[in-house]
Symmetry: C2
DNA sequence: ACCTGAACACCGTTCAAGT
DNA sequence: ACCTGAACACCGTTCAAGT
């Protein structure tokens, strides 16, 4: 045994990531185990630690791919009227989260209470989506000061996320995606309407 | 050994719950282990399974106490003008979550992807807070149909929760509670303003 | 240099055996 | 009847040893 060199380290790294991703997608985060990944790629446990520092490192890379997938999904949304664009972004996020629940929820299942080593390159991926939203908020209220605009975008994004996470994490058979989508639209329309009215009043 | 009877089973159950709660509060969910709880109360591991079915059962009971604590906190908010009351509820929730982060976040760290056996009595505790909010939304728009009101309350509560969870789960040293509180107020004021304006238009 | 596989220190859970 | 403690089946991680 040993010394097989059937695959380069880079290939091995990709194989580990792919196998791990598949396990998460099909069975959820709680089924992701080092030995299981090893079996799936035809190697032994130790090999995983040749290409990833530890399971936390592997998990971070899985989540990074998910963030990229989310960003890619949201970039397909047609630009246009900013209010409609924001609605479409939120709907696309909701649809992605519901169709890829196991991958998506893992981002939050893992990262919530750990403060340990969230790498910068990972944090930047999280910001990509937010930046797009902020641009649209800027188009919505061009007169608005940057700090106010940032705060509005934050309130909006966090709210969108809250609706996704609470709508989708109930009992699986109770989830009504149409209802969640309507709740999402109500939130966005009401918020934008109210925010524009209030910021207009403030600049009088 | 064995056969000590220093404590009744009920006492033991309370001791296990208290010890477990303390560990979670002081060190977080990831430090909660069966053997650790046993050491803390001066028993051996096996004893825990005399009073709780398994760790999941114990965790559910810890989370139930947290939900009660949240509800108790929110009940201290002074009733009055519905819009102000909703703002105050949200602020109280944010403050509780930030001051009791380890307990609070555990509710979501544990329960997100598991569909297994969420008992009814637990689900009811989750609804208590929401019902209070819905009442205030009803006072805000007495003419409004119940289904619309329910949806508005849902959009609002999920948004409030989204702001809490994303504001508080970043890097611990980066969290600015004042900023989060302002974001929360912006969300609530804008939403209520916009929602009332739109539902007024709809009933014309 | 690459990979193994056995070892280590942990987990949750069970249950025959003691008092 | 109450409680133990040893056992079991798992974890993640490491590393001397093989090729």
């Amino acid at each position: 045994m040993a010394r097989r060199s059937e695959h380069s380290l880079e290939e091995l790294k990709a194989m580990v990531l792919d196998a791990a991703e598949t396990i998460v997608i099909e069975e959820g985060f709680s089924s992701l185990k080092a030995r299981r990944v090893a079996v799936e790629i035809g190697y032994t446990v130790g090999s995983i630690y040749m290409v990833y520092k530890n399971m936390a490192d592997l998990i971070t890379h899985i989540n990074a791919k998910t963030l990229d997938a989310v960003a890619a999904q949201l970039e397909q949304v047609q630009d246009g009227d900013p209010a409609q664009y924001i609605e479409a972004i939120a709907q696309a996020y909701l649809v992605y989260a519901s169709r890829n629940f196991n991958r998506w929820i893992m981002i939050f299942e893992y990262g919530f209470s750990r403060n340990t080593d969230i790498p910068d390159w990972y944090q930047e991926k999280r910001d990509v989506v937010f930046d797009r939203l902020e641009e649209s908020v800027a188009q919505l209220a061009p007169e608005c000061a940057e700090s106010d605009r940032k705060q509005a975008a934050k309130a909006l994004w966090n709210s969108i996320h809250g609706i996704c996470i609470l709508s989708l994490s109930g009992k699986t058979d109770t989830i009504d995606l149409n209802e969640s989508a309507e709740t999402m639209n109500l939130l966005i329309r009401s918020f934008i309407h109210g925010w524009l009215a209030q910021s207009a009043k403030a600049t009088d």
